[in-house]
């Protein structure tokens, strides 16, 4: 698409979300949708991110707070089970970490270059409440 000539675009700089009709889109998972090449889903914006959230499933209670609050639909959840973060579209805002209610948190922010295994191995302990 980026090398299209003037006569190869649809008029009005109008962009389609999907190739073909999208009749049952609400009940179709993102990975099964027929996104067009002009849809932002097909573009990675990972390089907008400075910090990234990492997910530790050991502490997750599948409350779906992160899924609800994520402003970019980048929390992947299936059958109400948290699976992980869509790292192509997450912009590292940290809202998921902020709203995570577990102790310790199941999502924490790390520098973009942080190794995931090392981070999980060094995950913080449960914080004891001060009596």
């Amino acid at each position: 698409m980026e090398n299209n000539g003037w006569n190869e675009f649809e008029i009005g700089a109008m962009l389609r979300s999907f190739d073909g009709a999208a009749t049952d889109i609400a009940t179709t998972h993102q990975e099964d949708r027929n996104y067009s090449s002009s849809n932002s889903f097909t573009a990675s914006v990972a390089d907008w991110r400075i910090e990234k959230p990492l997910f530790n499933k050991d502490y997750c209670i599948d409350c779906q707070f992160c899924w609800i609050y994520c402003p970019d639909m980048s929390i992947i959840s299936r059958d109400k089970k948290m699976i992980g973060v869509d790292m192509d579209h997450c912009k590292g805002c940290g809202i998921c970490v902020e709203v995570c209610p577990t102790n310790p948190k199941s999502l924490l922010m790390f520098a973009e270059q942080q190794n995931e295994e090392e981070a999980l191995a060094a995950w913080p302990e449960k914080e004891e409440k001060e009596k």
Binding site: N7, F9, I11, G12, A13, M14, F18, A21, A22
Partner: protein
């Protein structure tokens, strides 16, 4: 929601504003987003009354400015509705930013522009300053010289603008007060015939087609912007004129009223010609007839389609004319007039040796009288006889004080 039809006499006495409002009713516009401004207010007021009285099925959106009016029209057109509004002068100027949006987004909106001077000093009367301000905005611009034409050109505008090969917004211009508030006989179409001519709105890439979601109003930088602008210009240059001609032909078959991209009057054997727009065309036609009685072979060219500019049609119309006057009713503010420049380009490209002179007239609603045009035709005849322009290239007509001329 049902609506009532209106019984019209074959000929009604309407001013240009009411004629445009009636055409908007008969075209059954879905959405009018409007903000009032003299002298165009009665157009949208008229539509609002027809709507309130149950003569049209649609929505009237009252907004806080002309910028919002056109923005509302853009949203409604992108959603997939038949959309129109009206404005003048300062309101038009405030709308300019959104005019470029609507044409760039290829949304077929019809805008009735009742031409009026631009401040300062503030002035509510008719000149072509607002019409000229819109000429690079990517819209189609049609010019009506009378209430009848304001009525007819609205139907034509919808047909051209909404065509899927065109999809460009269209202005229908008429002169403030001289046309908009002067009642004349207007031959009408019945509601069924008028709507039949305009036709059912055929949506394209509409946002309410929920099975085919689209994004309108996108951002493109140096990588794509040029291509989209080139496409728009290409379609204005190649697709609009043939479509206008086709719709003019269809309209003539329907009504017997013939419109031309360039309206020549007594041009067949003319030596001298005045090129102008708006109500001045009708005055010039009358004077041209009187000049012929005095032995001057005078003709008039009225510009019906102002944008896209009818370059080749004008070249054809000016063939063999010895002296030509370009009449601009807008202050060029430091340049030759727009029509003078456009015609210079036409004549130069055709290697014409016609004597072309420019005139600035009628600013702020100042009358262009028959006496002015008699003098003008006499000057043109002198130019024709001499084979060159004997006067300065730019002269002001009808302004008080010492004679004003330049170049």
């Amino acid at each position: 929601m049902a609506f009532d039809k209106m019984e019209l006499r074959d000929i009604e006495v309407w001013d240009g504003n009411f004629a445009a409002a009636q055409a908007m009713r008969q075209a059954q516009i879905d959405v009018v987003a409007a903000y009032p401004i003299t002298p165009s207010t009665p157009i949208v007021e008229g539509y609002a009354k027809f709507l309130a009285d149950g003569y049209v099925e649609g929505e009237f959106v009252m907004v806080e400015s002309e910028h919002a009016a056109m923005s509302g029209c853009i949203g409604a057109a992108a959603a997939g509705g038949r959309v129109a509004t009206a404005t003048s002068s300062q309101g038009f100027a405030l709308m300019v930013e959104t005019l470029y949006q609507s044409s760039g987004m290829r949304l077929p909106i019809v805008l009735n522009v009742v031409n009026r001077a631009l401040a300062a000093p503030l002035n509510v009367n008719g000149d072509h300053s607002d019409m000229y301000l819109g000429r690079d905005s990517g819209w189609i611009q049609l010019d009506a010289y009378s209430p009848q034409e304001a009525y007819d050109l609205n139907f034509i505008a919808f047909r051209v603008s909404e065509d899927h090969d065109v999809r460009l917004p269209c202005m229908v211009h008429q002169d403030g007060f001289m046309t908009s508030h002067t009642a004349q006989g207007v031959k009408t179409l019945t509601d069924d015939v008028a709507y039949g001519f305009v036709g059912e709105y055929k949506p394209m890439n509409d946002m309410l087609d929920l099975d085919h979601p689209v994004t309108h109003g996108v951002q493109t930088e140096e990588d794509w912007h040029f291509e989209h602008k080139a496409r728009q210009h290409n379609d204005l240059m190649t697709k609009v004129m043939p479509k206008i001609q086709e719709v003019f032909d269809d309209f003539e078959k329907l009504s017997g009223r013939k419109y031309n991209i360039v309206e020549g009057y007594d041009m067949d054997d003319a030596d001298v010609a005045v090129v102008c727009m708006g109500t001045s065309v009708e005055t010039a036609r009358e004077v041209a007839g009187e000049m012929r009685e005095k032995g001057i072979k005078a003709g008039v060219i009225g510009i019906r389609v102002f944008r896209p500019f009818p370059f080749m049609e004008m070249a054809e119309a000016l063939k063999g004319i010895k002296a030509i006057a370009a009449l601009d009713r807008s202050s060029p503010n430091g340049a030759p007039g727009m029509l003078f420049n456009e015609l210079s380009g036409v004549l130069f490209s055709q290697k014409s040796d016609a004597a072309l002179s420019g005139y600035v007239y009628g600013l702020g609603g100042r009358d262009l009288t028959k006496a002015h045009l008699v003098d003008l035709y006499n000057e043109l005849q002198a130019n024709a006889d001499a084979g060159k322009v004997l006067t300065p290239l730019q002269q002001f007509i009808g302004v008080r004080g010492p004679k004003l001329s330049f170049l």
